[in-house]
Amino acid sequence: MEILSPMIILALFGILTPIIGFICERGRVRNLVSAWALFGFIISFMACFRLMNLLNKNPVIVVSLYPSIGEYVAGFIVLDWLSFTFSIGFIFLGLISTLHSIDYMSHDTGLPSYYSLLLLMVCGMVGVTLAGDFLTLYVFWELMSISSYCLVGFRKHLWEPVEAGFKYLLMSAAGSALVLFSMSLLYGLTGSLSFARIASSLTGASPSILLYAIFILLLVGFGVKAAIVPFHSWLPDAHPAAPSPISAMLSGVVIKTGVYAIIRASYTLIAIPTVDFRPMLALLSVLTMTVGNILALVQKDIKRLLAYSSIAQIGYLVLALSLGTEFGLLAGIVHFFNHALMKGLAFLCAGSIIHVLGTRNIDELTGIGRRMPVTGVSFAIALLSLAGMPFLNGFISKYLIFAAAIDAQAYLLTFIGLLNSAVGVVYYVRVIQVLFRKPIEAVMKAHESPPLITSSLVILSLLCIIFGVWPQPLSYVAELAAHFTFQRLVYITSVLRF
Protein backbone atom coordinates (compact mmCIF):
# COMPACT_ATOMS: atom_id res chain seq x y z
CA MET A 1 0.00 0.00 0.00
CA GLU A 2 2.95 2.28 0.59
CA ILE A 3 3.55 2.43 -3.14
CA LEU A 4 0.05 3.65 -3.78
CA SER A 5 0.27 6.35 -1.11
CA PRO A 6 1.27 9.33 -3.33
CA MET A 7 -1.60 8.55 -5.67
CA ILE A 8 -4.14 7.89 -2.92
CA ILE A 9 -3.22 11.12 -1.15
CA LEU A 10 -3.65 13.11 -4.37
CA ALA A 11 -6.98 11.44 -5.17
CA LEU A 12 -8.27 11.93 -1.61
CA PHE A 13 -7.30 15.59 -1.54
CA GLY A 14 -8.74 16.05 -5.02
CA ILE A 15 -12.08 14.59 -4.02
CA LEU A 16 -12.25 16.47 -0.71
CA THR A 17 -11.25 19.85 -2.17
CA PRO A 18 -14.78 20.87 -3.31
CA ILE A 19 -16.12 20.20 0.19
CA ILE A 20 -13.30 22.16 1.82
CA GLY A 21 -13.81 24.88 -0.76
CA PHE A 22 -17.51 25.10 0.09
CA ILE A 23 -16.68 25.46 3.79
CA CYS A 24 -14.02 28.08 3.00
CA GLU A 25 -16.45 30.13 0.90
CA ARG A 26 -18.96 30.06 3.75
CA GLY A 27 -16.29 31.09 6.24
CA ARG A 28 -15.09 33.90 3.92
CA VAL A 29 -11.54 32.54 3.80
CA ARG A 30 -11.21 31.87 0.08
CA ASN A 31 -7.48 31.26 0.10
CA LEU A 32 -7.68 28.42 2.58
CA VAL A 33 -8.55 26.01 -0.24
CA SER A 34 -5.25 26.84 -1.98
CA ALA A 35 -3.37 26.08 1.22
CA TRP A 36 -5.25 22.79 1.44
CA ALA A 37 -4.23 21.81 -2.09
CA LEU A 38 -0.63 22.85 -1.41
CA PHE A 39 -0.67 20.73 1.73
CA GLY A 40 -1.87 17.75 -0.33
CA PHE A 41 0.95 18.16 -2.82
CA ILE A 42 3.58 18.46 -0.07
CA ILE A 43 2.44 15.26 1.68
CA SER A 44 2.24 13.42 -1.61
CA PHE A 45 5.72 14.60 -2.59
CA MET A 46 7.14 13.35 0.69
CA ALA A 47 5.35 10.01 0.30
CA CYS A 48 6.73 9.70 -3.23
CA PHE A 49 10.25 10.55 -2.09
CA ARG A 50 10.13 7.78 0.50
CA LEU A 51 9.56 5.21 -2.26
CA MET A 52 13.24 5.54 -3.12
CA ASN A 53 14.13 3.46 -0.05
CA LEU A 54 11.89 0.66 -1.26
CA LEU A 55 13.38 0.81 -4.74
CA ASN A 56 16.91 0.61 -3.38
CA LYS A 57 16.06 -2.80 -1.93
CA ASN A 58 14.13 -4.10 -4.92
CA PRO A 59 14.23 -2.49 -8.38
CA VAL A 60 10.77 -3.62 -9.51
CA ILE A 61 7.89 -3.79 -7.04
CA VAL A 62 4.43 -5.12 -7.89
CA VAL A 63 1.29 -4.29 -5.92
CA SER A 64 -2.21 -5.48 -6.63
CA LEU A 65 -5.48 -4.50 -5.03
CA TYR A 66 -6.63 -8.08 -5.47
CA PRO A 67 -3.89 -10.42 -4.26
CA SER A 68 -3.77 -13.28 -6.70
CA ILE A 69 -2.22 -16.71 -6.37
CA GLY A 70 -1.01 -17.01 -9.92
CA GLU A 71 -0.08 -14.33 -12.37
CA TYR A 72 -1.22 -10.72 -12.14
CA VAL A 73 -3.80 -10.29 -14.86
CA ALA A 74 -5.03 -6.71 -14.73
CA GLY A 75 -5.51 -3.84 -12.34
CA PHE A 76 -2.10 -3.83 -10.72
CA ILE A 77 0.64 -1.33 -10.06
CA VAL A 78 4.30 -1.73 -10.94
CA LEU A 79 6.87 0.62 -9.47
CA ASP A 80 10.31 0.75 -11.00
CA TRP A 81 12.97 3.44 -11.28
CA LEU A 82 11.53 4.83 -14.50
CA SER A 83 8.09 5.37 -13.01
CA PHE A 84 9.63 6.78 -9.84
CA THR A 85 11.66 9.35 -11.79
CA PHE A 86 8.67 10.48 -13.80
CA SER A 87 6.19 10.57 -10.94
CA ILE A 88 8.43 12.59 -8.64
CA GLY A 89 8.89 15.14 -11.42
CA PHE A 90 5.12 15.35 -11.93
CA ILE A 91 4.33 15.85 -8.25
CA PHE A 92 7.11 18.39 -7.76
CA LEU A 93 5.98 20.60 -10.62
CA GLY A 94 2.40 20.28 -9.38
CA LEU A 95 3.54 21.57 -6.00
CA ILE A 96 5.29 24.57 -7.52
CA SER A 97 2.33 25.36 -9.79
CA THR A 98 -0.01 25.30 -6.81
CA LEU A 99 2.29 27.69 -4.94
CA HIS A 100 2.17 29.97 -7.98
CA SER A 101 -1.60 29.63 -8.35
CA ILE A 102 -2.35 30.97 -4.87
CA ASP A 103 -1.75 34.55 -5.96
CA TYR A 104 -2.16 34.11 -9.72
CA MET A 105 -5.69 32.69 -9.52
CA SER A 106 -6.86 34.85 -6.61
CA HIS A 107 -9.16 36.93 -8.85
CA ASP A 108 -10.82 33.92 -10.48
CA THR A 109 -14.02 32.21 -9.39
CA GLY A 110 -14.42 28.45 -9.01
CA LEU A 111 -11.14 27.92 -7.18
CA PRO A 112 -12.25 24.67 -5.48
CA SER A 113 -12.90 23.01 -8.84
CA TYR A 114 -9.61 24.37 -10.18
CA TYR A 115 -7.55 22.83 -7.39
CA SER A 116 -9.59 19.65 -7.47
CA LEU A 117 -8.91 19.23 -11.18
CA LEU A 118 -5.23 20.03 -10.72
CA LEU A 119 -4.85 17.41 -7.98
CA LEU A 120 -6.74 14.81 -10.01
CA MET A 121 -4.67 15.56 -13.11
CA VAL A 122 -1.44 14.93 -11.21
CA CYS A 123 -3.01 11.82 -9.67
CA GLY A 124 -3.78 10.58 -13.17
CA MET A 125 -0.23 11.26 -14.35
CA VAL A 126 1.28 9.41 -11.40
CA GLY A 127 -1.15 6.56 -12.11
CA VAL A 128 -0.03 6.40 -15.74
CA THR A 129 3.58 5.99 -14.67
CA LEU A 130 2.71 3.33 -12.10
CA ALA A 131 0.37 1.29 -14.32
CA GLY A 132 1.37 -2.31 -14.86
CA ASP A 133 -1.23 -3.15 -17.48
CA PHE A 134 -3.20 -1.46 -20.21
CA LEU A 135 -6.47 -1.30 -18.27
CA THR A 136 -4.90 0.70 -15.43
CA LEU A 137 -2.96 2.81 -17.90
CA TYR A 138 -6.11 3.65 -19.85
CA VAL A 139 -8.14 4.61 -16.78
CA PHE A 140 -5.46 6.93 -15.41
CA TRP A 141 -4.67 8.26 -18.89
CA GLU A 142 -8.27 9.39 -19.23
CA LEU A 143 -8.35 10.80 -15.69
CA MET A 144 -5.38 12.95 -16.62
CA SER A 145 -6.74 13.89 -20.04
CA ILE A 146 -10.25 14.80 -18.94
CA SER A 147 -8.93 16.94 -16.08
CA SER A 148 -6.55 18.69 -18.44
CA TYR A 149 -9.33 19.47 -20.97
CA CYS A 150 -11.34 21.06 -18.19
CA LEU A 151 -8.31 23.02 -16.98
CA VAL A 152 -7.54 24.34 -20.46
CA GLY A 153 -11.12 25.53 -20.81
CA PHE A 154 -11.24 26.80 -17.24
CA ARG A 155 -11.84 30.47 -18.14
CA LYS A 156 -14.84 29.60 -20.28
CA HIS A 157 -16.12 33.19 -20.43
CA LEU A 158 -13.30 33.96 -22.90
CA TRP A 159 -13.30 32.72 -26.48
CA GLU A 160 -9.70 31.51 -26.62
CA PRO A 161 -9.78 28.75 -23.97
CA VAL A 162 -13.02 27.34 -25.40
CA GLU A 163 -11.71 27.15 -28.94
CA ALA A 164 -8.31 25.80 -27.90
CA GLY A 165 -9.86 23.34 -25.45
CA PHE A 166 -12.20 21.91 -28.06
CA LYS A 167 -9.34 21.43 -30.48
CA TYR A 168 -7.24 19.81 -27.76
CA LEU A 169 -10.09 17.52 -26.75
CA LEU A 170 -10.83 16.30 -30.29
CA MET A 171 -7.21 15.47 -31.11
CA SER A 172 -6.29 14.01 -27.78
CA ALA A 173 -9.44 11.89 -27.50
CA ALA A 174 -8.90 10.55 -31.02
CA GLY A 175 -5.42 9.57 -29.85
CA SER A 176 -6.75 7.69 -26.86
CA ALA A 177 -9.30 5.90 -29.06
CA LEU A 178 -6.37 4.69 -31.17
CA VAL A 179 -4.59 3.53 -27.99
CA LEU A 180 -7.71 1.59 -26.98
CA PHE A 181 -7.88 0.01 -30.43
CA SER A 182 -4.24 -1.04 -30.47
CA MET A 183 -4.68 -2.38 -26.94
CA SER A 184 -7.38 -4.74 -28.20
CA LEU A 185 -5.15 -5.83 -31.09
CA LEU A 186 -2.31 -6.54 -28.66
CA TYR A 187 -4.71 -8.63 -26.62
CA GLY A 188 -5.71 -10.50 -29.76
CA LEU A 189 -2.05 -11.31 -30.40
CA THR A 190 -0.90 -12.20 -26.90
CA GLY A 191 -3.99 -12.93 -24.82
CA SER A 192 -3.19 -10.54 -22.01
CA LEU A 193 -3.31 -6.86 -21.11
CA SER A 194 -0.41 -6.84 -18.67
CA PHE A 195 2.78 -5.24 -19.98
CA ALA A 196 4.99 -8.02 -18.68
CA ARG A 197 2.94 -10.81 -20.28
CA ILE A 198 2.72 -8.97 -23.61
CA ALA A 199 6.45 -8.28 -23.50
CA SER A 200 7.32 -11.88 -22.72
CA SER A 201 5.00 -13.15 -25.48
CA LEU A 202 6.54 -10.83 -28.02
CA THR A 203 10.14 -11.57 -27.03
CA GLY A 204 11.81 -13.18 -29.99
CA ALA A 205 8.77 -12.75 -32.23
CA SER A 206 9.72 -12.19 -35.83
CA PRO A 207 8.88 -8.80 -37.35
CA SER A 208 5.50 -8.67 -39.04
CA ILE A 209 3.28 -6.07 -40.64
CA LEU A 210 0.69 -6.47 -37.89
CA LEU A 211 3.24 -5.73 -35.16
CA TYR A 212 4.46 -2.68 -37.04
CA ALA A 213 0.86 -1.52 -37.48
CA ILE A 214 0.18 -1.93 -33.76
CA PHE A 215 3.34 -0.04 -32.88
CA ILE A 216 2.44 2.79 -35.23
CA LEU A 217 -1.07 2.98 -33.75
CA LEU A 218 0.43 3.19 -30.26
CA LEU A 219 2.95 5.77 -31.42
CA VAL A 220 0.23 7.93 -32.97
CA GLY A 221 -2.03 7.55 -29.93
CA PHE A 222 0.64 8.50 -27.43
CA GLY A 223 2.31 10.90 -29.85
CA VAL A 224 -0.76 13.13 -29.92
CA LYS A 225 -0.34 13.67 -26.19
CA ALA A 226 3.41 14.12 -26.55
CA ALA A 227 2.89 16.66 -29.39
CA ILE A 228 5.16 14.92 -31.87
CA VAL A 229 5.01 16.89 -35.07
CA PRO A 230 2.32 15.71 -37.42
CA PHE A 231 0.00 15.62 -34.37
CA HIS A 232 1.16 18.78 -32.62
CA SER A 233 -1.32 21.37 -33.83
CA TRP A 234 -3.35 21.42 -30.60
CA LEU A 235 -0.37 22.34 -28.42
CA PRO A 236 0.40 25.92 -29.48
CA ASP A 237 -3.29 26.78 -29.00
CA ALA A 238 -4.03 24.90 -25.82
CA HIS A 239 -0.96 25.83 -23.80
CA PRO A 240 -1.25 29.62 -24.14
CA ALA A 241 -5.01 29.54 -23.58
CA ALA A 242 -4.79 27.85 -20.19
CA PRO A 243 -4.06 29.82 -17.00
CA SER A 244 -0.26 30.15 -16.62
CA PRO A 245 0.30 27.60 -13.82
CA ILE A 246 -1.63 25.11 -15.95
CA SER A 247 0.46 26.01 -19.00
CA ALA A 248 3.51 25.23 -16.90
CA MET A 249 2.01 21.87 -15.95
CA LEU A 250 0.93 21.04 -19.52
CA SER A 251 4.20 22.02 -21.15
CA GLY A 252 6.41 20.82 -18.34
CA VAL A 253 4.94 17.46 -17.52
CA VAL A 254 1.63 16.49 -19.17
CA ILE A 255 3.22 16.08 -22.59
CA LYS A 256 5.90 13.95 -20.92
CA THR A 257 3.34 11.31 -20.02
CA GLY A 258 3.09 10.69 -23.75
CA VAL A 259 6.86 10.34 -23.87
CA TYR A 260 6.76 7.99 -20.89
CA ALA A 261 4.17 5.83 -22.64
CA ILE A 262 6.30 5.79 -25.80
CA ILE A 263 9.29 4.63 -23.72
CA ARG A 264 7.17 1.84 -22.24
CA ALA A 265 5.81 0.84 -25.63
CA SER A 266 9.14 0.86 -27.40
CA TYR A 267 11.54 -0.35 -24.72
CA THR A 268 9.42 -2.63 -22.54
CA LEU A 269 6.60 -3.92 -24.74
CA ILE A 270 8.04 -4.25 -28.23
CA ALA A 271 11.80 -4.46 -28.25
CA ILE A 272 14.19 -3.72 -31.10
CA PRO A 273 14.56 -7.10 -32.82
CA THR A 274 10.78 -7.38 -33.19
CA VAL A 275 10.00 -3.85 -34.31
CA ASP A 276 12.89 -1.59 -35.23
CA PHE A 277 11.51 1.71 -33.97
CA ARG A 278 14.73 3.67 -34.43
CA PRO A 279 14.22 5.03 -37.97
CA MET A 280 10.61 5.99 -37.24
CA LEU A 281 11.45 7.86 -34.05
CA ALA A 282 14.49 9.48 -35.66
CA LEU A 283 12.38 10.82 -38.54
CA LEU A 284 9.73 12.09 -36.13
CA SER A 285 12.33 13.73 -33.92
CA VAL A 286 13.91 15.59 -36.83
CA LEU A 287 10.49 16.80 -37.97
CA THR A 288 9.50 17.79 -34.43
CA MET A 289 12.66 19.78 -33.68
CA THR A 290 12.73 21.56 -37.00
CA VAL A 291 9.07 22.54 -37.13
CA GLY A 292 9.05 23.59 -33.45
CA ASN A 293 12.14 25.76 -33.79
CA ILE A 294 11.23 27.40 -37.09
CA LEU A 295 7.69 28.26 -36.03
CA ALA A 296 8.93 29.58 -32.69
CA LEU A 297 11.05 32.11 -34.59
CA VAL A 298 8.04 33.97 -35.96
CA GLN A 299 5.92 34.15 -32.79
CA LYS A 300 4.83 37.47 -31.29
CA ASP A 301 3.00 35.97 -28.30
CA ILE A 302 5.32 35.04 -25.44
CA LYS A 303 3.36 31.95 -24.34
CA ARG A 304 2.98 30.74 -27.92
CA LEU A 305 6.73 31.06 -28.38
CA LEU A 306 7.29 28.94 -25.29
CA ALA A 307 4.73 26.40 -26.53
CA TYR A 308 6.58 25.99 -29.83
CA SER A 309 9.83 25.73 -27.91
CA SER A 310 8.22 22.83 -25.99
CA ILE A 311 7.62 21.06 -29.28
CA ALA A 312 11.27 21.56 -30.20
CA GLN A 313 12.41 20.20 -26.84
CA ILE A 314 10.17 17.15 -27.27
CA GLY A 315 12.06 16.67 -30.52
CA TYR A 316 15.38 16.45 -28.63
CA LEU A 317 13.78 14.01 -26.19
CA VAL A 318 12.53 11.77 -28.99
CA LEU A 319 15.97 11.99 -30.60
CA ALA A 320 17.45 10.56 -27.41
CA LEU A 321 14.88 7.76 -27.40
CA SER A 322 15.38 6.98 -31.09
CA LEU A 323 18.98 5.90 -30.48
CA GLY A 324 17.88 2.66 -28.85
CA THR A 325 20.83 2.60 -26.46
CA GLU A 326 21.00 2.72 -22.68
CA PHE A 327 22.97 5.95 -22.79
CA GLY A 328 20.33 7.52 -25.02
CA LEU A 329 17.60 6.52 -22.61
CA LEU A 330 19.59 8.02 -19.73
CA ALA A 331 19.98 11.29 -21.63
CA GLY A 332 16.27 11.31 -22.39
CA ILE A 333 15.31 10.81 -18.75
CA VAL A 334 17.68 13.56 -17.58
CA HIS A 335 16.26 15.85 -20.25
CA PHE A 336 12.72 15.04 -19.14
CA PHE A 337 13.50 16.20 -15.61
CA ASN A 338 15.48 19.28 -16.65
CA HIS A 339 12.92 20.33 -19.20
CA ALA A 340 10.17 20.03 -16.61
CA LEU A 341 12.12 22.42 -14.38
CA MET A 342 13.12 24.98 -16.99
CA LYS A 343 9.93 25.04 -19.04
CA GLY A 344 7.89 25.16 -15.84
CA LEU A 345 9.99 28.12 -14.75
CA ALA A 346 9.64 29.85 -18.12
CA PHE A 347 5.84 29.54 -18.15
CA LEU A 348 5.55 30.63 -14.52
CA CYS A 349 7.68 33.70 -15.28
CA ALA A 350 5.44 34.49 -18.25
CA GLY A 351 2.49 34.04 -15.87
CA SER A 352 4.04 36.46 -13.39
CA ILE A 353 4.44 39.07 -16.13
CA ILE A 354 0.90 38.50 -17.42
CA HIS A 355 -0.40 38.81 -13.86
CA VAL A 356 1.10 42.31 -13.65
CA LEU A 357 0.82 43.65 -17.21
CA GLY A 358 -2.09 41.65 -18.62
CA THR A 359 -0.51 41.31 -22.07
CA ARG A 360 1.27 38.48 -23.86
CA ASN A 361 2.65 40.42 -26.81
CA ILE A 362 6.45 40.35 -26.73
CA ASP A 363 6.83 43.95 -28.00
CA GLU A 364 4.70 45.27 -25.14
CA LEU A 365 6.99 43.62 -22.59
CA THR A 366 9.99 45.82 -23.46
CA GLY A 367 12.01 46.50 -20.34
CA ILE A 368 9.83 44.56 -17.93
CA GLY A 369 12.91 42.79 -16.61
CA ARG A 370 14.16 46.06 -15.16
CA ARG A 371 10.89 46.82 -13.41
CA MET A 372 10.43 43.24 -12.11
CA PRO A 373 13.97 42.10 -11.28
CA VAL A 374 13.18 38.70 -9.73
CA THR A 375 10.88 37.67 -12.55
CA GLY A 376 13.22 39.07 -15.18
CA VAL A 377 16.30 37.29 -13.87
CA SER A 378 14.42 34.00 -13.42
CA PHE A 379 13.04 34.30 -16.93
CA ALA A 380 16.55 34.91 -18.25
CA ILE A 381 17.80 31.84 -16.35
CA ALA A 382 14.99 29.71 -17.79
CA LEU A 383 15.56 30.89 -21.34
CA LEU A 384 19.34 30.55 -21.18
CA SER A 385 18.89 27.10 -19.74
CA LEU A 386 16.52 26.18 -22.58
CA ALA A 387 19.07 27.54 -25.03
CA GLY A 388 21.68 25.31 -23.44
CA MET A 389 24.08 27.68 -21.68
CA PRO A 390 26.79 25.95 -19.62
CA PHE A 391 26.38 25.87 -15.81
CA LEU A 392 22.61 25.63 -16.22
CA ASN A 393 20.74 22.34 -16.29
CA GLY A 394 19.66 22.59 -19.93
CA PHE A 395 23.27 22.34 -21.01
CA ILE A 396 23.81 19.08 -19.10
CA SER A 397 20.91 17.28 -20.74
CA LYS A 398 21.60 18.61 -24.23
CA TYR A 399 25.23 17.63 -23.86
CA LEU A 400 24.20 14.14 -22.76
CA ILE A 401 21.77 13.78 -25.68
CA PHE A 402 24.34 14.74 -28.29
CA ALA A 403 27.04 12.65 -26.61
CA ALA A 404 24.67 9.67 -26.71
CA ALA A 405 23.90 10.34 -30.37
CA ILE A 406 27.62 10.43 -31.25
CA ASP A 407 28.12 7.32 -29.13
CA ALA A 408 25.46 5.52 -31.17
CA GLN A 409 27.16 6.77 -34.37
CA ALA A 410 24.12 8.77 -35.46
CA TYR A 411 26.19 11.62 -36.86
CA LEU A 412 23.53 13.06 -39.15
CA LEU A 413 21.03 13.21 -36.28
CA THR A 414 23.63 14.94 -34.10
CA PHE A 415 24.33 17.47 -36.80
CA ILE A 416 20.63 18.27 -37.30
CA GLY A 417 20.13 18.48 -33.55
CA LEU A 418 23.04 20.90 -33.11
CA LEU A 419 21.80 23.02 -35.99
CA ASN A 420 18.38 23.18 -34.37
CA SER A 421 19.96 24.08 -31.06
CA ALA A 422 21.63 27.02 -32.73
CA VAL A 423 18.33 28.17 -34.24
CA GLY A 424 16.77 27.89 -30.78
CA VAL A 425 19.33 30.27 -29.27
CA VAL A 426 18.12 33.02 -31.65
CA TYR A 427 14.60 33.31 -30.29
CA TYR A 428 15.55 32.74 -26.66
CA VAL A 429 18.11 35.52 -26.77
CA ARG A 430 15.67 37.81 -28.59
CA VAL A 431 13.22 37.51 -25.67
CA ILE A 432 15.96 38.20 -23.13
CA GLN A 433 17.01 41.31 -25.10
CA VAL A 434 13.45 42.60 -25.10
CA LEU A 435 13.11 41.97 -21.37
CA PHE A 436 16.12 44.07 -20.39
CA ARG A 437 15.83 46.96 -22.85
CA LYS A 438 14.91 50.50 -21.76
CA PRO A 439 11.33 50.24 -20.42
CA ILE A 440 8.51 51.63 -22.53
CA GLU A 441 5.74 53.87 -21.17
CA ALA A 442 3.23 51.13 -20.32
CA VAL A 443 5.81 49.09 -18.45
CA MET A 444 7.05 51.97 -16.24
CA LYS A 445 4.13 51.58 -13.81
CA ALA A 446 4.73 47.84 -13.31
CA HIS A 447 6.10 46.49 -10.05
CA GLU A 448 7.21 43.08 -8.80
CA SER A 449 4.65 40.26 -8.39
CA PRO A 450 3.37 39.14 -4.96
CA PRO A 451 5.85 37.15 -2.80
CA LEU A 452 4.26 33.72 -3.33
CA ILE A 453 4.67 34.02 -7.10
CA THR A 454 8.28 35.18 -6.83
CA SER A 455 9.10 32.46 -4.29
CA SER A 456 7.93 29.77 -6.72
CA LEU A 457 10.16 31.34 -9.38
CA VAL A 458 13.14 31.53 -7.04
CA ILE A 459 12.83 27.85 -6.03
CA LEU A 460 12.78 26.70 -9.65
CA SER A 461 15.63 28.95 -10.79
CA LEU A 462 17.78 27.80 -7.88
CA LEU A 463 17.11 24.21 -8.89
CA CYS A 464 18.03 25.03 -12.50
CA ILE A 465 21.39 26.37 -11.31
CA ILE A 466 21.99 23.58 -8.77
CA PHE A 467 21.35 20.82 -11.29
CA GLY A 468 23.49 22.73 -13.76
CA VAL A 469 26.61 22.62 -11.61
CA TRP A 470 25.85 19.47 -9.62
CA PRO A 471 23.93 17.00 -11.81
CA GLN A 472 25.07 13.88 -9.94
CA PRO A 473 21.87 13.16 -7.95
CA LEU A 474 19.81 13.48 -11.11
CA SER A 475 22.11 11.37 -13.23
CA TYR A 476 22.29 8.72 -10.49
CA VAL A 477 18.52 8.19 -10.55
CA ALA A 478 18.38 8.47 -14.35
CA GLU A 479 21.14 5.90 -14.70
CA LEU A 480 19.24 3.39 -12.59
CA ALA A 481 16.02 4.14 -14.47
CA ALA A 482 17.69 3.71 -17.85
CA HIS A 483 19.46 0.55 -16.76
CA PHE A 484 16.38 -1.25 -15.47
CA THR A 485 14.24 -0.10 -18.39
CA PHE A 486 16.79 -1.30 -20.87
CA GLN A 487 17.11 -4.66 -19.10
CA ARG A 488 13.51 -5.57 -19.81
CA LEU A 489 14.01 -9.12 -18.55
CA VAL A 490 14.24 -7.79 -14.97
CA TYR A 491 10.85 -6.14 -15.38
CA ILE A 492 9.26 -9.20 -16.98
CA THR A 493 10.57 -11.73 -14.48
CA SER A 494 9.70 -9.62 -11.45
CA VAL A 495 6.11 -9.12 -12.57
CA LEU A 496 5.51 -12.65 -13.79
CA ARG A 497 7.26 -14.06 -10.70
CA PHE A 498 9.36 -16.66 -12.48
Binding site: V162, L170, F181
Partner: protein, 105 residues
Protein backbone atom coordinates in the same frame (compact mmCIF):
# COMPACT_ATOMS: atom_id res chain seq x y z
CA UNK B 1 -24.76 -19.74 -39.68
CA UNK B 2 -21.80 -19.17 -37.34
CA UNK B 3 -20.30 -15.71 -37.42
CA UNK B 4 -16.63 -15.57 -38.23
CA UNK B 5 -14.37 -13.45 -35.98
CA UNK B 6 -13.04 -11.73 -39.06
CA UNK B 7 -16.43 -10.14 -39.62
CA UNK B 8 -16.09 -8.27 -36.34
CA UNK B 9 -12.46 -7.35 -36.89
CA UNK B 10 -13.30 -5.99 -40.33
CA UNK B 11 -16.31 -4.12 -38.94
CA UNK B 12 -14.27 -2.47 -36.21
CA UNK B 13 -11.60 -1.51 -38.74
CA UNK B 14 -14.21 0.03 -41.01
CA UNK B 15 -15.76 1.89 -38.06
CA UNK B 16 -12.35 3.28 -37.12
CA UNK B 17 -11.87 4.49 -40.68
CA UNK B 18 -15.34 6.07 -40.66
CA UNK B 19 -14.55 7.84 -37.39
CA UNK B 20 -11.24 9.23 -38.63
CA UNK B 21 -12.88 10.31 -41.90
CA UNK B 22 -15.66 12.09 -40.02
CA UNK B 23 -13.19 13.84 -37.74
CA UNK B 24 -11.21 15.11 -40.70
CA UNK B 25 -13.98 16.04 -43.11
CA UNK B 26 -17.01 17.14 -41.10
CA UNK B 27 -17.38 20.82 -40.28
CA UNK B 28 -20.20 20.66 -37.73
CA UNK B 29 -18.94 20.44 -34.16
CA UNK B 30 -21.63 17.99 -33.06
CA UNK B 31 -20.84 15.75 -36.01
CA UNK B 32 -17.17 15.79 -35.07
CA UNK B 33 -18.08 14.67 -31.56
CA UNK B 34 -20.16 11.90 -33.13
CA UNK B 35 -17.18 10.83 -35.22
CA UNK B 36 -15.15 10.64 -32.03
CA UNK B 37 -17.80 8.42 -30.53
CA UNK B 38 -17.67 6.13 -33.57
CA UNK B 39 -13.91 5.77 -33.11
CA UNK B 40 -14.39 4.73 -29.49
CA UNK B 41 -17.17 2.34 -30.49
CA UNK B 42 -14.88 0.63 -32.97
CA UNK B 43 -12.27 0.11 -30.25
CA UNK B 44 -14.86 -1.25 -27.84
CA UNK B 45 -16.29 -3.59 -30.47
CA UNK B 46 -12.79 -4.85 -31.13
CA UNK B 47 -12.23 -5.45 -27.39
CA UNK B 48 -15.45 -7.44 -27.02
CA UNK B 49 -14.71 -9.37 -30.19
CA UNK B 50 -11.29 -10.48 -28.96
CA UNK B 51 -12.69 -11.33 -25.54
CA UNK B 52 -15.04 -13.80 -27.22
CA UNK B 53 -12.94 -15.20 -30.03
CA UNK B 54 -9.43 -15.34 -28.58
CA UNK B 55 -9.89 -18.75 -26.98
CA UNK B 56 -12.53 -21.27 -27.88
CA UNK B 57 -15.13 -21.75 -25.16
CA UNK B 58 -13.75 -19.03 -22.88
CA UNK B 59 -14.86 -15.43 -22.62
CA UNK B 60 -12.30 -13.21 -20.92
CA UNK B 61 -14.02 -11.12 -18.22
CA UNK B 62 -11.09 -8.70 -18.03
CA UNK B 63 -11.81 -7.40 -21.50
CA UNK B 64 -15.48 -7.03 -20.71
CA UNK B 65 -14.51 -5.00 -17.65
CA UNK B 66 -12.25 -2.92 -19.89
CA UNK B 67 -15.06 -2.41 -22.38
CA UNK B 68 -17.51 -1.25 -19.70
CA UNK B 69 -14.92 1.10 -18.20
CA UNK B 70 -14.12 2.42 -21.66
CA UNK B 71 -17.82 3.08 -22.32
CA UNK B 72 -18.22 5.02 -19.07
CA UNK B 73 -15.01 6.99 -19.60
CA UNK B 74 -16.17 7.80 -23.11
CA UNK B 75 -19.47 9.08 -21.73
CA UNK B 76 -17.54 11.54 -19.50
CA UNK B 77 -15.46 12.59 -22.46
CA UNK B 78 -18.49 13.23 -24.66
CA UNK B 79 -20.07 15.22 -21.82
CA UNK B 80 -17.06 17.52 -21.65
CA UNK B 81 -16.93 17.78 -25.45
CA UNK B 82 -20.58 18.85 -25.58
CA UNK B 83 -19.93 21.37 -22.80
CA UNK B 84 -17.23 22.85 -25.01
CA UNK B 85 -19.65 22.89 -27.94
CA UNK B 86 -22.25 24.79 -25.90
CA UNK B 87 -19.67 27.34 -24.77
CA UNK B 88 -18.35 27.72 -28.29
CA UNK B 89 -21.90 28.31 -29.51
CA UNK B 90 -22.34 31.04 -26.90
CA UNK B 91 -19.22 32.83 -28.13
CA UNK B 92 -19.57 32.37 -31.88
CA UNK B 93 -23.31 31.78 -32.45
CA UNK B 94 -22.50 28.95 -34.86
CA UNK B 95 -21.50 25.30 -34.81
CA UNK B 96 -19.38 25.58 -37.94
CA UNK B 97 -15.79 24.70 -37.07
CA UNK B 98 -14.54 26.94 -39.90
CA UNK B 99 -15.71 29.99 -37.96
CA UNK B 100 -13.52 28.94 -35.00
CA UNK B 101 -10.30 29.89 -36.67
CA UNK B 102 -9.12 32.85 -34.73
CA UNK B 103 -6.17 30.81 -33.48
CA UNK B 104 -3.63 30.28 -36.19
CA UNK B 105 0.10 29.68 -36.30
Amino acid sequence: MPIEPYTFIATSGVLLAVGIYGLMVKRNMIKMVMALEIMFSSAILSLVNFAYFRMYGFVDPILHVTAIIAISVEACLIGIALAFVINAYRHYKTLDIRELRRLRW
